[in-house]
């Protein structure tokens, strides 16, 4: 790949020093990250992120066919950015029974869903057995489905109610069907924001420590950051730095997903309208450059709109998430994207962005690819990436 044009443009944009580090695959400092958040040279930033993205994945862009289930909205955390939580007796409060969860799974048996993403509120009266029963019910309804469930915040609660050590809880959840953990609940690790916005929730350090335990138990997980509210560039960069330090230790994170703050119907409505489209592009680009040891950066289309996610595929992202049957948390907060995108539409969107669509499962095994001849059965994703980079 020729770097001469980009090298020259980065120099002119005042990003020459950072660009040289990127070309040499050196780790960027937190100060570098802050500088990247501040640069007006959005296109150069995007090109640099794209360069790294293509080093990892060539032309490949991943998606999956998935289903979301939010098993309860009962929650005692009172996070100010949340529009989804309810207390018992409040209008719209609900908790699904394991059978109701299974019914949601059965509703989509005719569709090629490979993953269920299952998260919910934190409610201490829910017994430990419930979580195990929900996992078992899902597996009974669709044995081959991968269950990606329970953020670190929920796991903390589950272990409390189980009154057992976390490693044992994780073993039992896995036994019941848990496949991996989603990345939510990280918000921003900065203690300032934790105190201001979600003080009842586990702290950033606790989140990281739980993620370490999850990885040590042999489970993969994702990581996130809720951005576009009251956080500063320094706080974002610190967040990235903590994630990559833990990743150096465990290697257990698969994907980083920036989550755009949505401002409707919550206590932070007056604080921010949420990130602009250009801020979303920038977050994707900076995180791709900072998180040099996390394989995937996801442009979660349902939060951004599909067109923005397409654009992100040239600004550092390599994943757009999935078809998402039924999403409630962000739609309660004002997301207006359709809740389901046909597989074909996602594939076309990826093609139109100049990328090769690859349907993956949760653990990034290939389910389907646009170029079957490039993909003998059992091909690992790294093989295709190498192939697409060498064609």
């Amino acid at each position: 790949m020729s770097q001469s044009g980009l090298r020259e443009r980065a120099k002119r944009a005042g990003l020459g020093r950072i660009a040289e580090k990127i070309f040499a695959e050196e780790r960027l400092t937190r100060e570098d990250g802050v500088e990247l958040y501040a640069t007006p040279e959005l296109h150069v930033l995007g090109e640099l992120a794209n360069h790294v993205r293509e080093r990892w994945h060539g032309d490949l862009a991943f998606f999956n066919v998935n289903q979301h289930i939010n098993y309860t909205n009962l929650c005692n955390k009172f996070c100010k950015f949340c529009s989804f939580d309810r207390l018992p007796g409040q209008e719209g409060a609900y908790q699904m029974t394991p059978d109701e969860v299974a019914e949601k799974i059965r509703e989509h048996l005719h569709e090629p869903v490979t993953e269920v993403h299952m998260v919910g509120g934190v409610w201490p009266k829910i017994p430990y057995e419930y979580y195990l029963d929900v996992l078992r019910a899902v597996k009974a309804a669709r044995p081959e489905i991968h269950i990606k469930a329970f953020t670190m915040v929920e796991l903390d609660q589950i272990a409390k109610v189980a009154k057992k050590p976390m490693p044992q809880v994780l073993d039992e959840l896995r036994e019941a069907g848990l496949g991996s953990c989603p990345g939510g609940g990280a918000e921003v690790f900065a203690e300032r924001i934790h105190r201001e916005g979600y003080r009842q929730k586990i702290s950033g350090d606790e989140w990281l420590s739980l993620a370490r335990t999850v990885h040590e138990a042999g489970l993969r997980s994702n990581c996130t950051m809720l951005h576009g509210h009251i956080e500063t560039a320094e706080e974002r960069v610190d967040h990235h730095d903590k994630l990559r330090s833990l990743q150096d230790e465990t290697g257990g994170f698969q994907t980083y997903i920036p989550l755009s703050f949505h401002a409707d119907n919550n206590e932070w409505t007056h604080m921010s309208k949420g990130p602009t489209a250009l801020a979303e592009l920038r977050e994707i680009a900076v995180s791709r450059l900072m998180l040099d040891n996390i394989p995937h950066i996801k442009a979660y289309w349902i939060l951004m709109e599909l067109g923005i996610a397409q654009t992100c595929l040239s600004f550092g992202a390599d994943d757009v998430d999935g078809t998402v049957v039924e999403e409630r948390i962000y739609h309660d907060a004002g997301a207006t994207t359709p809740q389901e995108t046909a597989r074909e539409e996602l594939i076309q969107a990826i093609r139109d962005a100049g990328r090769i669509p690859v349907e993956r499962d949760t653990l990034y095994n290939v389910v389907w690819s646009e170029n079957p001849e490039a993909m003998p059965e059992g091909t690992a994703i790294s093989d295709i990436a190498a192939h697409s980079a060498s064609v």
Binding site: P40, D59, E305, T311, Q348, D352, A353, G354
Partner: protein, 419 residues
């Protein structure tokens, strides 16, 4: 009794057989490999040196360039044309005096045949009330266009425009697309220039760029066979410019055209602009096929990625157009913000009312705030403009030029001579 249903089948090259469906964006990695890498570098160098690119260059960009390169080059041209970090928009309202139309375009969900259910002609009083509301909101323009009504002749329009001009001198009539003017000439059985002269004398201030669709006869014969031809569309605009009026230009893509035909459209516009300098701006959008009469002819809507490609390319290719407008109506406000870094420097109108693309809406004051928020969110300065792209905003230090149609006419001539 149920009416017999006939399922219209799409002729070859239309519907799912459209070239827009089989078209594939180039893989990004292709742009890094020879010979494409060198070809793109050569074209980039031309753009960076402010040299004109050829139609072949444009086609190569369309077919081989990655989105990042297109965005970078379009952004570069945008800043060269407009070094100040300003994005303009106009407070305006769309008024469609009639939806009666005898042109039967299969992609139009707005029109009604004469005497059909829902066919209407607005009373003068209704139009006046709408313009009054617009004026009270500080609106500077009404975009008036509508169906090709078989009986509403030039006189009807001249009376309306003159009446509005007298009542609301600060609101410009930006009215009558080229196909409508051509239609009036046919109804009157007299030359287009005479119709334009009458409309101008009545107070018409500028002409919208609608009805261009694709300026390629092969495509027009499929999507709008009864509409003004490519040559006629261009000729009406030429005569509008010769009469000292300015107009805008558009392109509706993503129907049955090929990539080369998109370029052909842009070539025709750039050539005419070389000749007259009378175009103020260019805007493009993708065909919106939901619920249109001849839905079977149209492929699914092309995605935002394709829109971004075509829009950026138009900024790069149309080197003699000052302004490129975004299309937030079709792309949404978030994508519209992205286009501000992919070549667009104008947000178009706030459209306090819009009937053709959407269902009838009323005043949305937040639309002004919404537009400003998107522009500010991009780190740019929102400024209101008039129909001739003079900045008319208290927040702006510079002089408002052009400030009216006759200023603009002089301006146009100067541009034409220097092009």
């Amino acid at each position: 009794m149920t009416a017999p249903t006939t399922v219209a089948t799409a002729p070859p090259g239309t519907g799912l057989d459209s070239p827009c469906v089989s078209w594939r964006a180039p893989l990004v990695s292709e742009s890094r490999r020879e010979p494409v890498r060198s070809q793109l570098a050569e074209i980039s160098a031309k753009v960076e040196a402010d040299e004109r690119i050829t139609a072949e260059d444009a086609l190569l960009l369309h077919e081989r360039a990655d989105l990042a390169t297109l965005g970078r080059l379009a952004d570069l041209v945008r800043w060269r044309k407009h070094p100040e970090p300003i994005v303009t928009y106009i407070v305006d309202r769309n008024i469609n005096p009639t939806n009666v139309c005898i042109t039967d375009c299969g992609f139009c969900a707005f029109y009604r045949r004469p005497k059909a259910d829902g066919a209407y002609v607005l009373d003068r009083d209704v139009i006046i009330a709408k313009v009054r509301e617009t004026a009270e909101q500080g609106g500077r323009q009404i975009l008036m266009q509508g169906g090709h009504h078989p009986y509403l002749k030039t006189d009807w329009w001249c009376e309306l425009i003159a009446d509005l001009k007298e009542r609301f001198p600060e609101v410009n009539s930006h009215a009558l697309s080229a196909p409508e003017i051509d239609h009036l000439a046919k109804l009157d059985k007299r030359p287009v220039e005479d119709v334009i002269a009458d409309l101008k004398a009545a107070g018409l201030g500028s002409v919208p760029g609608a009805g261009a669709e694709m300026l390629v006869e092969r495509v027009r014969l499929i999507i709008a066979p009864k509409k003004t031809t490519t040559d006629q569309w261009l000729d009406v605009h030429r005569k509008v410019h010769e009469a000292g009026l300015r107009s805008s230009a558009t392109m509706m893509f993503g129907n049955v055209e090929t990539a080369a035909e998109r370029i052909e459209h842009l070539v025709r516009l750039r050539d005419l602009q070389d000749e007259t300098g009378g175009f103020t701006a260019f805007a493009c959008w993708n065909t919106q096929p939901d619920g249109v009469p001849e839905a079977h002819l149209y492929p699914p809507k092309v995605s935002s990625g394709v829109y971004l490609r075509v829009q950026a390319l138009s900024r790069i290719f149309l080197d003699n157009f000052e302004n490129i407008q975004t299309s937030y109506v079709t792309q949404g406000m978030k994508m519209a913000q992205v286009t501000l870094r992919f070549g667009c420097n104008d947000f178009g109108g706030t459209m306090l009312e819009e009937n053709v693309v959407s269902a009838a809406g009323c005043f949305h004051l937040e639309s002004i705030q919404g537009v400003e928020r998107q522009i500010e969110g991009a780190g740019l300065l929102p400024r209101q403009r008039n129909s001739w792209y003079g900045i008319a905003d208290d927040r702006h230090d510079g002089e408002c030029f052009p400030s009216n149609a006759s200023d603009a006419a002089t301006h146009a001539a100067a541009k034409g001579a220097s092009a």
